[in-house]
Symmetry: C2
Subunit: 443 residues, 2 copies
């Protein structure tokens, strides 16, 4: 399936705040149109047709033939872009292949990735003379309802659309799966001097051919500065994974999302952040060993926060890679090792040695167990290990990495090294043994 992106407009309302055309306005490190291309690529779309108008050459210069994104891009120019977006959409007619279904998306709309994925998956379920429209019926949470195109829906079909519609129960998200029927409706509308996309959709709606797909996630039309800010907020929130640890959710993410917002504007890669997090852990270890537990503890927690940033940047800028996952997993283990070693060294240098050795050894053995049990469970059963369902009450044990580094920070601040090591050993082994016991019933 191909995607058609409308990028012909002028984008007046954002012009005072940003230079250049609106599709190229950068939002958290990617231009608006780039984000849509990369997000659709994640949905399996590799061929794009971009309809340009006002800023044709700037957009072509910026995106090229798509090879830098691993996709193909074709450009169609609409000299009459000022007439309306229906005329721009109709430009696709000369490139349309008989019988194909295509995605039609506005270059300045931002969608959470899961919204796009769910929408694209619906393509096989529409008939060849229908149109699928993404719609949002959660009217209370829709951003800037006044500016939205309203839709009157009956069951899963749109019957009338319009910006000033009074009787409506859902709104148009500006995301379509079109067929030849849409292009015919566009021609018909244009021949009647009605130049917007909504005019053409209304023709099909009258024939009960506009099927609705109700979205579940967030989306926004980036039109002015407040909506730009809101888009930033939505995207950052969407980066928090559902299976976050407690410390991570309550504390780390609040800071890491700010760092990610800052880093996103630069060309810093996720793997570079992973390595930076490791270096900070190493520094933490040195401070612990030199009996400066306060700095050691704080640096450990900083490293834990940065441990979230790599994944956030990867998801935000579509830079996720399997290797990044492995690199992170291994460096985290080494970081843990250095910190514990630093603590044990400090303890050893001033107290009874064999207990320090035991605590150090037990902690180092316990720490990789959390991941090891999860991955082994996954490898053996083919099912991911879900701590929320499988750990029972022990899911609140701070034995995952966010919890462990938080304990280390507290231990450093309070200068309680022996107690910290003993606590770490206890929680990690308790979790490991409990997982082993619980897994009996689950495998």
């Amino acid at each position: 399936m191909r995607a058609v992106i409308l990028a012909a407009g002028e984008g007046k309302r954002l012009r005072p705040h940003f230079s250049g055309p609106k599709p190229l306005v950068r939002l958290l490190g990617l231009s608006l149109i780039e984000r849509n291309i990369l997000a659709l690529r994640e949905c399996g779309i590799n061929d794009f047709v971009i309809i340009t108008g006002c800023y044709s050459s700037e957009i072509q210069d910026h995106l090229g033939n798509g090879s830098k994104f691993g996709v193909n891009i074709t450009y169609l120019h609409n000299p009459d872009w000022e007439l309306g977006n229906g005329v721009s959409a109709c430009t696709f007619r000369k490139n349309y292949r008989q019988g194909e279904k295509f995605i039609l998306i506005m270059s300045d709309h931002v969608f959470e990735l899961d919204v796009l994925k769910a929408f694209v998956a619906e393509a096989p379920n529409i008939n060849e003379d229908e149109l699928l429209l993404a719609a949002d019926r959660r009217l209370k949470s829709v951003y800037d309802l006044g500016e939205c195109t309203k839709v009157k829906a009956e069951q899963d079909f749109a019957v009338k659309l319009g910006k000033d519609l009074r009787d409506f129960n859902t709104v148009d998200c500006g995301l379509f799966i079109g067929t030849g029927a849409l292009l015919e409706a566009l021609s018909e509308a244009i021949s009647q001097c009605r130049y917007t996309l909504t005019d053409a959709v209304n023709i099909l709606a009258g024939q009960r051919k506009v099927k609705l797909h109700f979205v579940n996630g967030t989306w926004i039309d980036v039109d002015d500065l407040p909506s730009y800010r809101h888009a930033e907020k939505i995207l950052l929130q969407s980066l928090v994974p559902p299976k976050d640890g407690l410390v991570s959710r309550v504390l780390n993410r609040r800071v890491s999302l700010r760092i990610t917002k800052l880093f996103a504007r630069t060309s810093i890669t996720p793997n570079q952040v992973t390595f930076l997090s490791f270096l900070i852990s190493a520094a933490s270890a040195v401070f612990f060993a030199m009996v400066h537990p306060l700095y050691g503890g704080l640096l450990a927690q900083l490293s834990s926060i940065l441990d979230g940033v790599d994944g956030e940047i990867a998801r935000l800028k579509f830079l996720k890679s399997n290797y990044g996952g492995l690199f992170d997993a291994v460096l985290d283990r080494y970081a843990d090792f250095l910190i514990v070693l630093g603590m044990a060294y400090a303890w050893c240098s001033k107290a009874e040695n064999s207990l320090a050795l035991l605590a150090c050894a037990a902690t180092l053995t316990g720490m990789p167990m959390s991941m090891l049990l999860k991955e082994k469970f996954h490898a053996l059963t083919g099912k991911p290990f879900i701590p929320e369902s499988y750990d029972g009450i022990l899911r609140y044990l701070p034995a995952n990495r966010d919890g462990r580094l938080f304990i280390i920070m507290l231990g450093g601040i309070l200068n309680l090294i022996p107690a910290t090591l003993i606590l770490l050993a206890t929680v990690t082994h308790l979790q490991a043994l409990a997982r082993l016991y619980n897994a009996r019933k689950l495998m």
Copy 2:
């Protein structure tokens, strides 16, 4: 698909050596017929029809309705079993369901599991009037060729069969996928007073309806004491996994297969062996800590050998379970921890402490890395990590568990604890870092 097992014969030649009917003769902990039922269950077969004759009630008492194996067993009795195995096979006629394909297997034949799996997978490729026969054309390695039924093959079809055939190029393994055509051929042969299965197969061979499937693994017809001994050997050899470590292949398996042979006759479970191996590691740790490195080292190696026995018994007696895999993975990590801790304790008690601490910590961090990298790689890519292909020259590094415990044994015998810990730390981290580096190109 259902399986029909012929278990009607008398088994005269094994009678002097074993009491009871031949299908119930125990071989490495399972009776011959049990082994075939369990092996076919692994191939996805859940419904069995057993044709009894000479020892009808003994066999039924032993196997019951199959519920203890998680399968369904139906029995058909052939009072005329003495006439020949064709008459026994024809007994299935009254139970046959129009159009079905079925596996026909002799209760006293032993097949490597992979041979059965590959054969069963061929079932969809034969026509409804054909017969599929497992055949072995590796004549030099066939056991007791004189006793085998010879087959003259042209391409993939048998044209003539017989025990005394002179012009032959392959032999009959006694394993079939039959259709209604086989039952008709059996009736026809019997009406001509030709009572063996080979008689009926010859009728179909004359019509070019006996397709051949050439086996790649080992199999044997257990007829007398030498073939019984040979079957034991074949089965034990088939337990060695292809991706064995070097120490394991060269040293451990030679001992572990003997222990497995011994344990197979008892009701010891794989998980019990896993736990025994762990206890021996714990004892090794105590000896190291008490500065008896010789015993410590030898016990560590014994634990490494037993670490292979659990899996061998599981495969041999079809007791493999996901939980067993996880239990083994976790207990191995704990065993490693105890041994290293014992060694470090001994070192600490008589020498410079901070180096001992560093070596202990580095070893404990390095040891789980081997498994952790493999499992994480698998979880991320969906592909298993194959050390032979991915580790390059470092695949000879003794960083896997068999190699590590071998180093520990040597270190104990030579009383070189510090050097052993430093070596362990070096090889494990070298492997981990090399894997991380190599994985870049593979993920």
